[in-house]
């Protein structure tokens, strides 16, 4: 199924198109949610809710626009909702400790990620891992490219600084030979 056909079929409620969209975007969205929530179990919930919401609201998807960006936008909002429901403030760095044990992110990285606002975690992941363009990010985060750039630069510097200071990773030291 071509990309355009997928977009049209999805908006028309074709279940095969939903399956196809899950196959294409499912694991990527799971990883994206995991990075925002820093909790694999919650990310599993978030990605399922994302596709359920997307299917329920498929009529509002405009064919001709990017299905990928639309799904990311729903996933992002779902993650933020989940964090809010845990009484976390979106505009403050969240310091929540997950109720679940997440062995998939090492402690120091998790600490560094949680020093960022959830919105900034999402933005950094979108740029660094998903390599999304600012025009895509405008659609996902409903924000101007200039604002996103500034936010990204600040978040990037903060996260890199935390990682450098955390000393959490093995460092290959000089060969004593």
């Amino acid at each position: 199924m071509g990309k355009n056909n997928l977009d049209i079929s999805f908006s028309e409620g074709d279940e095969d198109a939903l399956c196809h969209a899950i196959n294409i975007y499912g694991q990527k969205l799971l990883r994206y949610c995991h990075n925002i929530l820093c909790d694999y179990s919650e990310a599993q919930d978030a990605v399922q809710i994302t596709f359920i919401k997307a299917y329920e609201k498929r009529k509002s998807f405009k064919t001709g626009t990017s299905l990928s960006s639309w799904l990311y936008k729903i996933a992002y909002n779902t993650c933020i909702d989940l964090i809010r429901k845990k009484r976390l403030l979106f505009f403050l760095p969240d310091t929540h400790q997950s109720t679940h044990q997440d062995d998939f992110i090492c402690d120091d990285l998790k600490k560094a990620l949680l020093s960022l606002k959830p919105a900034d975690r999402a933005l950094v992941f979108s740029r660094v891992i998903d390599e999304k363009s600012y025009s895509d990010l405008e659609q996902i985060y409903q924000c101007s490219a200039a604002t996103l750039r500034k936010r990204y630069e600040r978040a990037k510097k903060k996260l890199a600084k935390s990682l450098k200071e955390s000393n959490s990773y093995y460092l290959r030291l000089e060969d004593k030979k």
Partner: protein, 442 residues
């Protein structure tokens, strides 16, 4: 995407996050068939959905395949007994990936992987695994250690560090892209006469706020200023010999510094490089660099497209200085989905014993030894590990010095691992020398 230093750190860190695959589809279907208010999302056992065809070889098949020695012909006979044979393969895009075997202890693993092109010449001796994931371990690196031209097979060693209780753990290894057909252009003489380069007037520069742009190099710290003048884009098109993935789009002297602006092809992933100045004493001077794009009106913006190299040349003897370059380009960027999962199982026991050794800034409380090396656990400052000498005394009288050091901080503990090129027979170890202090193994 060209990554700056901070982005590389972040990318490496985020790539250590394990996100096991999850059967979203089945769960979505189940959940969409029940009333919304009663939705309960269950987390089933992780099921891998993969386009890769995975062959898990049964015991009978296992007996018929070539031995590990045949698959890794360059491996020393002494090392073979330490390998846990895996021999699980998958195939995608006409390329076969096979995890041959592993050597591991509880926190470190060496995984040997063969990559073979079954249909073409996309695997060569310059193979560079670009995107890969090792779920179940952290902080991994990879390097090609052998290439067999006859079978077009490259062998990669993946080193995973920092996992927790790796022994007995099921992990999955996945490659989603790699580079090959790499060309390195080192010591490339640009042929540009530094005296021919013109001074750029103030009316011909763009002024930018440094903090708004990605940059690298110490020159910006030395400048100690927030703003800098850079070149206007696209005023020239100077191609360098043999380089077709980048050209000089402008250059000139601004404020006593040499600026060289380059435009890179967006088609090729991971092409990179830099200019440097080389004088008659073979002393090399490296530039700072700044990345930017330009808006339609020509205003610099924080994006990619141009890289400007900036040299401080105020105290240089330009007459005896040449502008040279080091550039790397990859002809192939191949994507696919090669993924296998397997269980790590050390073939030799790890021994651990408490101790109390004071090493200036470090207090060592525990020593453990495995086929991969000796791990010291303690408290204090890990910088002191540069002064630690570790040797293993074997019961046949031989001594093995462990020269490579890897350290990690875990909460308030420091773990310093001394590794050896060849695995150790733990059962044959008599004692361990740590800066002259002998620790006997029972």
């Amino acid at each position: 995407m060209n990554y700056d230093y901070d982005e590389k750190i972040i990318k490496d860190a985020l790539n250590t996050v394990e996100t096991p695959d999850f059967d979203i589809l089945s769960n979505i279907k189940n959940n969409m068939q029940i009333p919304k208010e009663k939705k309960q999302i269950k987390k089933p056992i992780v099921i891998f959905i993969t386009a890769c065809l995975i062959f898990i070889l049964s015991a009978s098949v296992f007996a018929s395949i070539p031995g590990l020695k045949d698959l890794l012909p360059f491996i020393n006979n002494n090392m073979l007994s330490f390998f846990q044979p895996i021999q699980i393969s998958c195939e995608d895009n006409g390329i076969k990936m096979e995890v041959i075997g592993t050597v591991n202890d509880d926190e470190m693993a060496l995984i040997y992987v063969n990559m073979q092109d079954l249909t073409g010449d996309r695997i060569d001796e310059t193979l560079d695994i670009y995107d890969y994931f090792l779920k179940g371990a952290h902080a991994f690196t990879s390097e090609i250690i052998n290439y067999d031209e006859t079978t077009k097979t490259a062998t990669i060693k993946v080193q995973a560090n920092g996992g927790k209780k790796l022994n007995g753990k099921r992990i999955s290894f996945e490659i989603t892209s790699f580079l090959s057909d790499k060309h390195v252009f080192d010591n490339l003489d640009t042929g540009i006469d530094l005296f021919e380069i013109k001074e750029i007037p103030k009316s011909e520069v763009n002024t930018i706020n440094l903090e708004d742009f990605s940059r690298g190099g110490t020159i910006f710290e030395e400048l100690n200023q927030n703003k800098i003048n850079i070149l206007k884009p696209g005023k020239m098109k100077i191609h360098l010999p043999e380089i077709d993935f980048m050209y000089i789009s402008n250059m000139g002297y601004i404020d006593g510094r040499l600026h060289i602006q380059t435009k890179w092809s967006e088609d090729n992933i991971d092409d990179h490089g830099y200019f440097y100045l080389d004088n008659i004493n073979d002393e090399k001077i490296y530039p700072g660099n700044i990345y930017y794009g330009v808006t339609e009106s020509g205003t610099p913006e924080n994006a990619r497209g141009y890289v400007e190299y900036i040299f401080d040349v105020q105290n240089l003897d330009l007459e005896n200085t040449n502008l040279k370059g080091y550039f790397v380009s990859n002809g192939n960027y191949i994507t696919g989905n090669w993924k296998v999962s397997f269980k790590m199982q050390s073939v030799d026991e790890e021994k651990s014993l408490p101790c109390n050794i004071n090493l200036d800034s470090l207090q060592i409380n525990n020593i453990s030894i495995s086929p991969l090396g000796v791990t010291l656990t303690g408290t204090g400052d890990e910088k002191g590990n540069e002064n630690i000498d570790v040797a293993v005394n074997m019961n046949d009288g031989s001594v093995r010095k462990l020269d490579s050091v890897i350290s990690r901080r875990e909460n308030d503990k420091i773990k310093i691992k001394f590794t050896s090129d060849l695995p150790l027979y733990v059962s044959m170890v008599d004692s361990i020398d740590i800066n002259g202090t002998k620790v006997e193994l029972e």
